[in-house]
């Protein structure tokens, strides 16, 4: 049994597996207006309870599509629930119908709601995975988009739902929210991601300026035809870049479908024991016989609120047995696809000299991980069976291995006595957290959802450029303009004057 401290972080629970790769925000309106202060016909949603770990989270939806959202996510095909009455329902993903959580739903038909519009509240469990799943499910429905800061309150104000005294504070509230959002955006923008978005925005600005120059001036001026060919190339590259970025950036997806953690190592190192220890139940058969595990064994777990798909694999060795050879092939395949690999090593096989042990471990890693995985950042070394070490041998090994460069984090544990398990779980939790992004700091799930939506719109709009490039340059330019507007929602607004500035800088316009 695990010491009680662990239970908070390490909660063995069968996590719902959802289909991977379902596109976020399947239907994207190209022309989504920034809500500056007035109601749109769009339906907005947001996590309305505070950010941070909590028992219950409230997700609020407001706008004309609220009823549809409620019907399709709470499995209410026929009638809506009675107004303002809590109803316990399974909350499902609208397309796949998979259960995301079980919670309370409330229906507030217009005008008797906070915003004066049709509204719905989902009261769900407060884990980040559940919240993210519900938000993403909402975002996948047509006509829905994440709310901007203060938007619920603004809508309430427009519906004259707020008294004047309440409104007094609204400006300050929005100020505070936008201020927080700005700080957060700055935090995110200061890194590589920010530079990337700024770079795209800059390229798009030039594309637009050059198309506009071609439209407004090419009849009278010497604007080379090559200008458009360059724009074609830039638009094409940008589209590919953003699409790749949307695909590559798997953090959100990991959070949704689970981090792929694969246990790999030599036969009889204790891989299956590690799996059983982590999930606190005999999910895999363990025996002292080498080659017991021949196929892949998968278990879904919740580690500190993050969904993890833990995979045990066959021990890696050359075997004459056909079945075992297939198991080894599958094991290697899993290791290649893994987000995180736990390489398990039997302590007893380690050379006693620390230097030699390090060299041994490095060589061992090379035999297990694919070449592309080096340097091994997405890997933990688990030295099992420390109960077989004598006295201070364990401490000495631990201390010396920590000083060796080029090795991934090392954890010494004993699946037999649970020694060192607590530290291991902490290390594992931190690794998973890094892989998912921490949804609890400043609500990046929400921001990320907005970013994704805007980037997705950007890609769609660039497709419009391609579509009309040869038939109607005005509509093609409209595509670039919409793309820039979408990106501008992340990086900042770009006005027509800025475009004209680039035109006059880049071209000699004389008419």
């Amino acid at each position: 049994m695990l010491p009680s401290v662990h239970r908070g972080i390490l909660k063995a629970a069968v996590h719902t597996l959802r289909t991977r790769g379902a596109p976020l925000n399947r239907v994207m309106s190209i022309c989504d207006g920034v809500p500056v202060g007035l109601a749109d016909a769009e339906t907005i949603f947001a996590l309305s309870s505070g950010h941070g770990r909590c028992g219950v989270a409230v997700v609020r939806v407001s706008g004309p599509a609220s009823a549809t959202a409620l019907r399709s996510m709470a499995g209410l095909t026929r009638s809506l629930p009675p107004p303002r009455t809590a109803l316990l329902r399974s909350i499902t993903e609208p397309q796949s119908k998979e259960v995301l959580d079980r919670g309370l739903v409330l229906w507030f038909p217009a005008p008797h709601s906070f915003t004066g519009e049709d509204s719905v509240e989902f009261h769900i469990h407060g884990g980040p995975a559940v919240i993210t799943a519900v938000l993403q499910a909402l975002g996948s429905m047509p006509g829905m988009r994440p709310a901007e800061a203060g938007e619920f309150t603004r809508r309430a104000f427009q519906a004259e739902k707020l008294g004047l005294t309440e409104v007094e504070g609204l400006g300050d509230l929005i100020h505070a929210e936008t201020e927080a959002q700005r700080r957060q955006a700055l935090r995110q923008m200061s890194g590589d991601l920010g530079r990337l978005y700024q770079d795209w925005s800059h390229k798009l600005k030039r594309c637009l300026a050059h198309v506009e120059a071609f439209i407004d001036f090419s009849e009278d001026e010497l604007i080379e035809d090559g200008v458009l060919t360059q724009v074609d190339k830039s638009v094409c590259d940008l589209q590919a870049d953003i699409e790749r970025h949307l695909k590559d950036e798997r953090r959100g997806e990991r959070l949704r479908s689970g981090v792929q953690v694969v246990i790999a190592g030599a036969t009889n190192a204790g891989k299956s024991s590690l799996l059983n220890t982590i999930c606190q139940r005999p999910a895999a058969i363990v025996s002292p016989i080498a080659g017991t595990t021949r196929d892949v064994v998968e278990t879904a777990l919740d580690i500190g609120g993050f969904p993890v798909l833990l995979t045990d694999t066959a021990g890696l060795r050359d075997s004459p047995d056909l079945v075992e050879r297939e198991g080894v092939r599958r094991a290697r395949e899993r290791v290649e696809q893994a987000d995180l690999t736990l390489v398990v090593v039997d302590c007893a096989h380690l050379p006693s000299d620390a230097q030699e042990a390090a060299a041994f471990l490095l060589a061992h890693l090379k035999s297990i991980l694919p070449e592309t995985a080096f340097p091994p950042t997405r890997c933990l070394l688990v030295l099992n069976k420390t109960d077989l070490l004598h006295g201070d041998q364990r401490q000495k090994l631990d201390w010396e291995l920590r000083r060796v460069c080029g090795l991934p984090p090392v954890c010494l544990i004993s699946c037999h006595t649970n020694e060192g398990l607590q530290d291991f779980v902490t290390v594992l939790h931190n690794s998973v957290k890094t892989l998912c992004g921490d949804p609890l700091s400043g609500a990046p799930t929400l921001t990320q959802a907005r970013h994704r939506a805007h980037l997705q719109q950007c890609v769609t709009a660039l497709a419009q450029y391609q579509q009309y490039r040869d038939t109607d340059l005005a509509l093609a330019a409209e595509g670039v303009r919409l793309a820039l507007t979408s990106l501008g929602r992340i990086t900042g607004r770009v006005g027509p004057e800025e475009i004209l500035d680039i035109i006059f800088k880049d071209f000699c316009i004389g008419k």
Binding site: V36, H175, L473, G510, K511
Partner: protein, 678 residues
């Protein structure tokens, strides 16, 4: 026409039928002509005062009208029953639609004009306009009195005083369209002389004084220039590249089916370009060139040849040689605006292929002039601080005939509305290029002469030259009052026909294979089971309305008059629908008026000092305009929104009981989309 001229010219101040008018328009350029005509169409007794009657409607610079963006303005002016579209159809001698290959939203209808014919048309039009009197004279100053306390503003204009013998004429509103004449100076080489155009007397200093000292208006200074005119016979046309007009001229006006000039009688334009010799002459003459040495802002997009070669050296710059008229011996070298001494100008043009032996008829020169910072104007183009005073044209910092005419028309409309006690009206940037122009001017101001480009319009896909009548003529008759019923009826007919035709196309639903049977030459990529409507088919690149009409003559052939418009409607429909939501949002914000007399520094709402300063400087007319200002935060917008809401409620309460004129105005304000406050 000669006879009419005599009549027109015979009016003198002493013989005026009345000493009191509803509207007085000062200036007879493109802004003034449209303003006077529009005010008279609105039903106001109007007086147009100009220095010389025979320069009314003169094309001071280039002999052309329209182009990309500018063509949109001409179509919109015509849709509001203005003059310049019909004048262009009358005077055009070379018609072409620019950007033909780039999509109907950015087509640029353009024409080279016969200067003489254009002037004749405008003068005849003005003469034939009921309620409009034209007077030759120079305005010495504006008559200014205390404001009407029931309306915002610190002053009120009550008329003008003429230069000769202190003759006074009163009016309820005055439109100033003084062009480059406000403290204008002319530059050529090292000589400078006062004036706004060569050959015309400078305007009186009194007007400038009234505006700045009496009314306290902020003014800035801008510059522009014009090229030398070239003697046609001195050009070697074998060395320049001829450019042909469109085979079938397209009229500007929605009322015209054809233009006056026969297609085969159109003239040619010619293209040549600058050489390194041109650059050398520019550099050698720099020390003799006062105008170019000054740092007054000139237009970036219509620079003098001096600034072109200095900014982009080592390149060949295009020069267009344009005809000046059917009977004119001159050519206009587009792109060669210059201010160096005349002898250097001759040296310069002779460095250009085709012009080695060219002669100059009139040298080019530069103009510097005062403009009134247009952020001091309301969307009705009225000076916010002065009741009854309207400004239009270059005085507001714009350049170009079309920009001037557009403002003139709108200022004329609102001057008449003011005089006739009707509430002012604004055109939204979501419905017209004129709206974009005015909104840009009044909410952002200008740092260089403002010219229209299609890229300035956010809703370019919806604001097309082809649909200007649907956008503006109906509104112009029903709400504004500046459109004749004849034109209105035509627009209604067009609208109904288009709607019927689109409905007919929509009901024409066939499966893809059946469409292929009907139109064997068209490749329909859709899967077999999809059924497609006529509108869907019309969106195909190679499908024209004529093709559909010949396949289904019984239901479509009667609409072939609108073939092109229907094709455009079908292709743009989807994009216009997408823009609609955004347009509605902006219109809602434009509907929320910010009172013009707010003291932003003492406003009892939570606003930062920085925001207060910005608001005070630009004094946005609506919440929509405020959101477009740089440095205005979302929080500030919400607080302003609250203020508008709050004051709106307070004011509406007690007034409801005593119905007076003001009340009517406010009611109308609330009801109307783009109305603005007084």
């Amino acid at each position: 026409m000669t006879f009419r001229f005599l009549l027109l010219a015979s009016r003198r101040a002493g013989h005026l039928a009345r000493q009191q008018y509803d509207v007085i328009v000062v200036g007879g350029g493109h802004a003034g002509a449209e303003a006077a005509a529009a005010a008279a169409r609105m039903g106001a007794e109007t007086l147009l005062v100009t220095q010389k009657i025979h320069t009314i409607g003169v094309l001071s610079c280039n002999p052309s009208l329209g182009g990309i963006g500018k063509g949109h303005l001409v179509k919109e002016i015509d849709a509001l029953d203005g003059l310049c579209g019909r004048a262009g159809d009358w005077a055009g001698i070379y018609f072409s639609i620019l950007n033909r290959k780039k999509g109907p939203a950015v087509w640029g209808p353009r024409a080279q004009l016969d200067r003489q014919r254009y002037r004749e048309f405008i003068q005849a039009e003005l003469l034939g306009t009921p309620r409009l009197t034209v007077l030759e004279g120079s305005v010495e100053e504006l008559q200014v009195t205390e404001p009407n306390p029931e309306e915002p503003g610190h002053h009120r204009v009550t008329g003008i005083r003429l230069a000769n013998g202190s003759h006074q004429i009163s009016a309820r509103s005055v439109v100033l369209t003084t062009g480059t004449f406000l403290s204008g100076s002319l530059f050529m080489g090292q000589t400078t002389s006062p004036g706004g155009r060569i050959g015309d007397a400078p305007s009186s200093a009194g007007l400038s004084y009234t505006l700045q000292e009496r009314l306290g208006l902020r003014v800035g200074r801008l510059r522009t220039g014009t090229p030398p005119r070239i003697v046609k016979d001195s050009v070697d046309f074998s060395l320049v590249e001829p450019h042909l007009p469109d085979k079938h001229p397209t009229p500007f006006s929605f009322l015209n089916t054809h233009v006056r000039c026969k297609p085969e009688e159109q003239l040619l334009c010619y293209l040549t370009c600058t050489t390194p010799g041109v650059e050398r002459v520019v550099r050698e003459s720099l020390h003799l060139n006062c105008h170019i040495q000054q740092d007054t802002k000139g237009p970036r997009y219509c620079p003098s040849i001096e600034s072109r070669v200095l900014r982009f050296p080592g390149r060949a710059h295009q020069v267009w040689l344009e005809p000046e008229g059917v009977n004119s011996d001159l050519l206009y070298p587009q792109g060669l605006s210059m201010t160096m001494p005349p002898d250097m100008q001759l040296l310069l043009i002779r460095e250009i292929p085709g012009m080695q032996r060219a002669e100059i008829h009139t040298p080019g020169y530069g103009v510097q002039y005062d403009f009134v910072c247009p952020t001091q104007l309301s969307p009705a183009l009225q000076v916010k601080s002065t009741q009854g005073l309207f400004l239009a044209g270059q005085i507001n910092g714009t350049t170009g005939y079309e920009e001037a005419a557009a403002q003139g028309l709108w200022a004329g409309v609102n001057a008449a509305r003011w005089a006739l006690s009707m509430p002012p009206l604004a055109l939204s940037r979501t419905e017209s290029y004129i709206g974009v122009l005015i909104d840009d001017l009044i909410s952002r101001g200008v740092t260089e002469p403002y010219r229209m480009f299609t890229s300035r319009a956010e809703f370019r896909a919806s604001l097309r030259p082809d649909n200007a009548d649907l956008r503006l003529t109906l509104k112009g008759f029903e709400e504004v009052g500046c459109v004749s019923s004849l034109r209105y009826q035509e627009a209604v007919r067009v609208r109904d026909s288009l709607q019927e035709a689109l409905a007919a196309l929509q009901t024409l639903t066939l499966s893809a294979p059946n469409w292929t049977k009907k139109l064997p030459n068209i490749r329909i990529s859709e899967v077999k089971t999809t059924s497609l409507t006529g509108v869907d088919l019309l969106q195909y690149r190679d499908v024209s309305f004529e093709m559909l009409a010949s396949a289904f003559p019984e239901c479509l052939s009667r609409f072939t008059e609108f073939s092109q418009r229907l094709k455009i409607e079908a292709v743009y429909r989807f994009h216009c629908e997408l823009q609609k939501k955004e347009i509605e949002r902006i219109q809602k914000e434009e509907n929320m008026a910010l009172p013009q007399d707010i003291d932003y520094f003492s406003l009892p709402v939570s606003l930062s000092q920085e925001v207060r300063e910005i608001l005070d400087r630009f004094r946005p007319s609506t919440l929509g305009a405020a959101t477009r200002l740089q440095g205005i935060t979302p929080a500030a917008i919400v607080n302003l929104l609250q203020y508008v809401y709050h004051t709106g409620q307070k004011e509406r309460g007690p007034r409801r009981n005593k119905p007076d004129h003001k009340e009517d105005r406010e009611e109308e304000l609330c009801a109307r989309n783009a109305s603005i406050p007084q």
